[in-house]
Amino acid sequence: MTDLGDLQCPVPKGDYDRVLMAHGGGGRLMQRLLGEVFFPAFDNELLERRHDAAVFALERGLSSPRLAFTTDSYVIRPLFFPGGSIGHLAVDGTVNDLAMAGARPLYLSTGFILEEGFPVADLRRVVQDMHDAADAAGVSIVTGDTKVVERGHGDGVYINTAGVGIIEHDLVIEPASVRPGDAILINGDIARHGIAIMSVREGLEFESAIESDCAPLADLVGRLIAEGLAVHCLRDLTRGGLAAGVIEIAQASGLQVELRETAIAVRDDVLGACEILGFDPLYVANEGRFVTFVPAEQAERALAVLRAHPAGEGAAIIGQVTAGSHPGLVTMQTVTGTSRVVDLLSGEQLPRIC
């Protein structure tokens, strides 16, 4: 056997000294950036929970009301796509991050970075979409900021939103609450948003346009909680898709997860686009999909609540949590009945040669 100590490696050790696009892809490189740059610098107990939103009490004592607080930035191209726009995303994305902490979203802030030369008519459309999305989600946009950068230093418009919501129940909805035996539910088919964006960006034409699944989820989450279900954890399945969302929870909770491939729905047209691009739908972004972790005995009730709501008509039970000997491991029973590991990607999925 070769002595690995003498190894002369002609390739880099993966520690890039500049930011790559892949650092924003929701995969391993991004996890490393968070772990090596942000977490050590901002080190605090709330951040350590690694949830979609930070949850804190206003004052000491069990009776104190709890708030959820989150932020997100939106840098997508194209700005308008089948089923939505950057305006819808900027509101729904932040509303959904609050919902994933079990909060009822109340107020949003917004910051605009506009590029010199950006058409005001487009800006109006974006702002109108934000207004409509805020109305639909029952939130108000109450403060904001606008900056303009020189032509060539932006991509039309970048939007940041932050949001606060109130938690009106006693559940602690976070990865640490997940227990062995929990059932995992999803509220519909996957991969639609990412493919809608890719089809427009790459000029792929299908018989009919694939529309984004972009939708506010707070109302649906509110129904689950109002039903008295012991919701242990929620996660929206945006960047990195279903795979990244479930792996993050498995790792944060130190438990194992088993998924069932046959229970995970992918629409035919979306699957076709994935086949053309060489993408695995498990890793493609969604903007209106989330997973719910509840005790197994409540799974059927949770499923009924999800299916009764317009944002959850395609809901399904897709897997369960186990204690297993490999904390953080996610496996999947494949369509052929065998089992495989579901692993985090390095960065973004890249279209393949053949």
């Binding site: 190894l7 390739v11 696009m21 699957l271 086949e275 369509v335 279209p351 040669i353």
Partner: protein
């Protein structure tokens, strides 16, 4: 989805697996040539459905994997030039050279663009006449017609700012190189369906006869692969060594004749170095003399420097089917998709990357 879902059907897979189990009376070793097939086998756990006596080893059919380091260095050199717009398929961007990859060149200011077709790169050259547009032409016979068409069209249009960095390889010479090695333990081959869609399968017939091995043209979905395995094992058990087409919905004996004609018009067969395997005679394609002006290596005067592979890396043995990825001591330790030591961990189609992605359970040997 038609033509996909029915070929991933669990009941059909089970039936084929049972038929294979009834058929097999002794140990056999088969090689699937194509990285796409390796990926399917590991992703869908098809090897777990087979009897223990059947061993699948993974072949050299991953174009990203076998592109030599020297060629990667050339791509990095070109991509870093301020006058060059470097266009490539997405999966070449993460392949490391001596000290960096195309993604890092891009982050450092290089104009590197992902395209879906070489014709997109031709369009970039038309739209941006002030830029030197270079397309990285990597692949087997599958991508050769598209790349040939791009060069052909660029010449017809009289484009003076388009060129191609060509690192094309051919499957049959690699199969012959494996078969002629005294170490070869492969008893039957699953040939790559896509390659045969373009080239047909006549060129495998002399190989099957000369080396006495069955070669079965095989598709990429679970049912396709199990059908290919079944056909190959049936021949072995019956003592036959023929070329057989188990992917008839896509492959004809003569292949796609206009595509072949275009390949011959633009490219000529040359010796080519394969990463992990070394130089194989008559195993690559290079632009013919009338298209020399579109050859990026000539246009930019690129020179060749030999770059050694790390010794710990067993990718050469993996590509020859002599080792399986988990048998490498560096697998999952020093060698991961983020820190690939060699060819087969680099690409998502590579055998080591497939095992890492679908079998690796952290810190331990894959299951």
């Amino acid at each position: 989805m038609r033509f996909v879902t029915e070929y991933r059907d669990a009941a059909a897979c089970r039936k084929l697996a049972e038929a294979i189990a009834r058929l097999v009376t002794r140990p056999w070793t088969l090689m699937e040539v194509c990285g796409g097939q390796t990926h399917s086998i590991i992703k869908f756990g098809l090897d777990q459905l087979l009897p223990e006596q059947v061993t699948l080893v993974h072949g050299p059919g991953c174009p990203v994997c076998v592109t030599p380091l020297e060629m990667i260095e050339k791509s990095l050199e070109l991509a870093a030039r301020p006058d060059v717009t470097f266009c490539s398929f997405g999966d070449m961007l993460r392949v490391p050279g001596k000290s960096q990859d195309l993604l890092a060149v891009k982050a450092g200011g290089g104009d590197v663009r992902i395209v879906y077709s070489p014709l997109d790169a031709v369009a970039v050259a038309q739209e941006e006449p002030e830029r030197e547009v270079v397309f990285f032409a990597v692949g087997f016979e599958t991508t050769a017609p598209g790349n040939a068409m791009a060069v052909y069209q660029a010449k017809e249009m009289g484009l003076t700012n388009f060129s191609m960095l060509v690192s094309h390889v051919l499957v049959p010479p690699a199969v012959e190189a494996l078969l002629s090695s005294p170490d070869c333990r492969v008893q039957g081959f699953l040939a790559a369906g896509h390659v045969c869609t373009v080239m047909g399968y006549g060129e495998y017939e002399p190989l099957a006869a000369k080396y006495g091995v069955p070669i079965v043209v095989t598709g990429f979905e679970p049912v396709d692969i199990l059908q290919g395995v079944h056909a190959c094992l049936k021949q072995l058990e019956e003592g036959r060594a023929e070329v057989e087409n188990a992917y008839a919905r896509s492959v004809r004996h003569e292949g796609n004749l206009p595509a072949q004609e275009l390949i011959r018009e633009v490219f000529e067969v040359v010796p080519r170095k394969w990463r992990g395997l070394g130089e194989i005679p008559r195993s690559g394609l290079s632009l013919r003399e009338p298209y020399a002006a579109l050859d990026a290596e000539k246009r930019f005067g690129l020179t060749e420097t030999e770059i050694p592979e790390p010794e710990a890396c067993l990718s050469g043995l993996v590509l020859q089917g002599l080792k399986r990825p988990p048998e490498c001591p560096a697998f999952g330790q020093e060698c991961t998709p983020e820190h690939p030591l060699g060819a087969t961990m680099v690409s998502s189609e590579g055998a080591c990357a497939a095992y890492y992605r679908y079998r690796h359970v952290g810190g331990e040997a894959p299951v």
